[in-house]
Symmetry: C2
Subunit: 340 residues, 2 copies
DNA sequence: TTGAAAGCGCTAACAT
DNA sequence: ATGTTAGCGCTTTCAA
């Protein structure tokens, strides 16, 4: 492949056969080629064959940039997510991608790193592509982000959370209810000295809301958290492991720990294994999300399964169907596991 | 937010203020607005202020579709990857995303599900957006994919593998060398009855190449694999766990197992834990990739760390610098861990 | 069934 | 320093 023929300045006309050239080669008008290619309007079988032949002979690749501009109807969907390495978001992407691709939509994405200001500038950049929909995580955004999105004629989907007002469509679960459910389960199993170990609840507002629900449920039962520890930065197995060691050092009498998510909880399980702490006999562990790794543990993790794939599919469906604005709570499922 | 104002048919002029309107509002020409917005060419400070004021007052969002068409220079980068839920790919995406965004590029992506035919049709769809670069995984593609990519004036980056001819740029490691290194390490540690447990080596050609290297190295040492098992479908912790149980049932005398990757190896470690198999005393385990989860195990996993983040960064750098066609082998690092 | 022509909203000469 | 104008490659009336 001759390097010299390539260039970052891609897409210059040199690099592409145009529809006009195809029309000329096939001996028909441009609009006829356009109709044939989009299978829209009417044309004779003979005309179609000549167009197809010319398209293949010339290796024509339609220019969607031009097509989108001309039709003023974009088939781009913008996804602005906190992280690509967190499986929670990629599960959702996965569910969203299939239906969208089938209908000829393309996904454009950008990563905010859990930073609302970054989200704001990325949303602005995305809107410049005139997407049919913008998909975000959570309901917390800067005022400017909400204003931009509100002013635009595109659909807006906020994922993973239903605790609060939505801009347009919201699909997810109630994280406060999830936190309450976890606390309720542990109380129901007889645990009384329950602690919390989590990652940054301000950057990850959904984790923060679970913590609120967890605290509220325990308080109402007259058993407020016996210890709480919040680690800076993102969640990870390693942090869960080290974190639990530190939490227990300060509060050795805990009989159960509610983690901000499964990654942290798996790390906690590793710590118990290493430190010889019997689970759930001496310490019960409870996670959140229902990841595969938790289920694959020799002792399946007690957790709450969130329907991430379904969130993605429903998001795609509502956008494609042009459904009315709504908040859709998909609920969660409690997985008793063997660690609590 | 009134639902009725939204529509999937987004981006129709109703939804957007145009540059012409900004120009009129500011009392200047269109090209002046364009210059100010792109900080290109010359204009007075006073003019700039009036333009900025009009932009903000009208809530103008530039239309990049139109801008790209007019300048015939796209700032879109297409990523066509096998999976979004496999952390190996998202680590690379992560490394690539930052530098690209900084320079005003946007990432468009699509998921092939390890299917070359799907990759072919997705590449075709991507080329319609006239991307500045197309990023793929691996060196194995259909003939049609290679032809399309070769005919286009955009850069092509093939990631994660350097064992074979590249279309334009290739950045990764030699997977055959990785397989050899794993085998060599196990032999060097004195293991003699070495088995293999992996996921589909035909869909995941990189895993297949590691298996080839592994086999070759053992054969050359006069110690061919004592047992091999290949599972259908994608790799996962659960498959590694069940797979190892079955592999050992058929070959109880193994003293080491080389896994297709860390997910599988972690699953194997779980099996050993549950079955009371001493690691590495009775059975040594070796993975591939150097994932965090392996390092967080109570016994750190013996593995090979692949520079996934660097692959992404280098890919972005070479594309942005418009570097000559080349194959860049970033090498790997052996992590002895504690399981082998 | 088909073609001609007028844009879509911007950029990039080219004038001034 | 700024405005005018001709496209970019396609879709979409509107006639024929």
């Amino acid at each position: 492949m001759a390097r010299d023929q390539r260039s970052t300045e891609a897409g210059r006309s040199g690099g592409g056969v145009t529809l006009a050239e195809v029309a000329a080669a096939a001996g028909v008008g441009e609009s006829t080629v356009s109709r044939v290619l989009r299978r829209h309007g009417s044309y004779s079988g003979r005309t179609r064959d000549r167009v197809i032949e010319a398209v293949e002979r010339l290796g024509y690749v339609p220019n969607r940039i031009a097509g989108t501009l001309a039709s003023t109807a974009s088939r781009l969907v913008a996804m602005v997510i906190p992280s690509v390495t967190n499986i929670v978001f990629t599960d959702v992407l996965n569910g969203i991608g299939g239906p969208l691709e089938e209908r000829g939509y393309q996904a454009v994405f950008a990563v905010t790193d859990y930073d609302p200001r970054r989200e704001e500038s990325l949303v602005a950049a995305m809107l410049a592509w005139r997407p049919a929909a913008v998909i975000l995580a959570g309901l917390e955004h800067t005022e400017a982000t909400r204003r931009m999105l509100g002013a635009q004629a595109c659909r807006v989907v906020e994922l993973l959370d239903t605790d609060g007002p939505a801009i347009d469509l919201a699909i997810g679960i109630s994280n406060r209810a999830a936190g309450r459910a976890g606390a309720g389960y542990l109380l129901g199993r007889g645990y009384r000295r329950i602690g919390y170990l989590g990652h940054d609840p301000f950057r990850d507002r959904r984790a923060g809301k679970r913590l609120e629900g967890f605290r509220a449920a325990l308080a109402e039962a007259g058993r407020p958290p016996a210890a709480e520890m919040v680690l800076e930065g993102a969640s990870s197995v390693a942090r869960g492991r080290e974190g639990l060691a530190r939490l227990l050092a300060g509060a050795p009498g805990l009989d159960a720990v509610y983690f901000s998510n499964d990654d942290m909880a798996v790390g906690g399980w590793f710590h118990c294994l290493e430190a010889g702490i019997a689970v759930p006999g001496r310490l019960a562990l409870f996670g959140h999300n229902g990841l595969d790794i938790g289920a694959a543990l020799p002792q399946p993790l007690a957790t709450l399964r969130t329907p991430r794939d379904a969130m993605g599919r429903e998001a795609a469906r509502l956008v494609l169907e042009d459904a009315p604005a709504q908040v859709l709570d998909l609920g969660f499922e409690l997985i008793p596991g063997a660690t609590a």
